[in-house]
Amino acid sequence: MLLDTLLQLACTTCDDEVQTGIFDERFPLLLVGMGAPFLVASALVWLIQRRI
């Protein structure tokens, strides 16, 4: 995974425990949960501005 590789290269304070904590089995769901509000809100704004 690109993000994983970048963190390994750049993150001097991350240790294995932190990496494991970040990239656990819930990572994909959390990423969706993080991004969904921005995408859904932006989609709603797009719909609203078309009707104004």
């Binding site: 932190v18 904590g21 509000p37 859904v40 501005q49």
Partner: protein, 175 residues
């Protein structure tokens, strides 16, 4: 004098996307960092140890990366809107759009993150987490309503079919 309708869509889109980004920053800066009421995954992983704090900080960082990107997109939209002569220079509509975007984002974020996924609660250390979560939605709905009302006032100020300024008027308006 040419009569055409003003186009509010680009201004509302720019303001509302900026509102999403800036509203996200308010959440991240005020609630996550200054007040420390919650962190991004503080319900799933309470930040009680340095390890859990670090994991939460990673997700807070991603959250801020999303807010920064959204704000940058909003600035781009505003730049484009500003160059269009048919887009009104309405402060009320712009302010309303900012509030509208902030309110929409908070409502969507509240529903998804607080209620559906329950990754965090508005006030994590509280006996009334649900009340805080519902209060957050209520305040956000208020922002949304005020924003919508301001946009409508801005539209009324300009009128739906008011004459567009001609080039000499545009020059005068920028003096």
């Amino acid at each position: 004098m040419e009569h055409r309708t003003w186009t509010f869509g680009p201004l509302v889109a720019a303001g509302a996307v900026l509102g999403i980004g800036m509203g996200g920053f308010v959440d991240g800066i005020v609630l996550h960092q200054i007040l420390q009421w919650h962190e991004m995954i503080s319900a799933w992983r309470p930040p009680l140890t340095l390890l859990d704090k670090s994991v939460n900080m990673f997700w807070d960082g991603l959250f801020h990366a999303f807010t920064w990107t959204t704000t940058a997109v909003g600035l781009g939209l505003l730049w484009r809107a500003k160059g269009r002569p048919d887009v009104p220079h309405s402060g009320k509509a712009f302010l309303g759009s900012l509030l509208l975007g902030w309110g929409i984002f908070n409502v969507v974020e509240g529903v998804i993150d607080h209620h559906l996924l329950n990754v965090h609660n508005v006030k994590e250390i509280s006996e009334h987490q649900t009340a805080w979560n519902l209060g957050f939605l209520a305040v956000s709905a208020g922002l949304l309503a005020i924003g919508w009302a301001l946009i409508q006032r801005g539209r009324r100020d300009f009128g739906s079919a008011a004459p567009l300024p001609q080039p000499p008027d545009l020059v005068a308006a920028h003096r």
